[in-house]
Point group: C2
Chain length 141, copies 2
């Protein structure tokens, strides 16, 4: 069951990992950086317009994904953003960054990252790790 109707551009760009209590969790298909996208259940466009309690719950899930990137994937740096200038549906970027990635120190949007695909099984392994660590209800892969 999908909790939120997700914009087709996000579905085209990402793997759909599963559900968190306040957000759907996606993973960008470009494997050059671990680039997670959280889609809250709201018709509002901007994170900072959410009512306080909802906003705090969404940011808490972003923090949980950030902890996965740092503690499990071993990244020291995470970029966090809500932009939505192109895809209007609210979505939050939580991205592991390193000095070795091709876009460093620029942001990932509009800068050359290269293109890599996830190895077979990798996405499913992260789904399972996220289920265990932050309570993701995984979608069938």
């Amino acid at each position: 069951m999908s909790h939120v109707e997700i914009h087709p551009q996000l579905l085209a760009d990402c793997y759909y990992l599963g559900h968190l209590p306040a957000c759907e969790l996606l993973l960008h298909r470009n494997a050059c950086v671990p680039w997670f996208i959280l889609v809250p259940d709201t018709a509002l466009a901007d994170l900072l317009d959410l009512p306080t309690e909802h906003r705090d719950a969404v940011v808490a899930e972003c923090a949980a994904v950030s902890a996965f990137i740092k503690q499990i994937l071993g990244y020291a740096k995470v970029n966090f953003a809500g932009l939505g200038n192109v895809v209007p549906q609210m979505h939050l970027h939580v991205i592991g960054r390193s000095e070795d990635d091709a876009a460093w120190p620029q942001p990932v949007w509009g800068n050359f990252l290269g293109e890599q695909t996830y190895a077979s099984g990798q996405v499913q392994q992260w789904r399972e790790g996220l289920a265990k660590m932050i309570g993701l209800v995984p979608l069938e892969s």
Copy 2:
């Protein structure tokens, strides 16, 4: 009195507007977009690493600045980000965007915005508006 030692690059790029309870508030000198920067009092680098209560307080101040951008300055869209790949001190960007700005729909970082300076008195007027609306303790201009 400065509550936080602010990185010299941020001080060079911005007007220092004043203090909020959890953050110092800066305004980028490029007037092409209303580009506010909040600097929390922390030695951590990434917003999503802050303890929950501190994180929620910082994000609440970002939301208050966003409300000023939307309600007073009349922007429909706000971009929000914590990056810190270049300046390591934690700082949050809260930026009014419009389809008329030169970087639209790209993010502002690394994209051509043009260069404009604030008219005399404008920064002080916003300082006073922010004092009234969101409780900014303004620095002397």
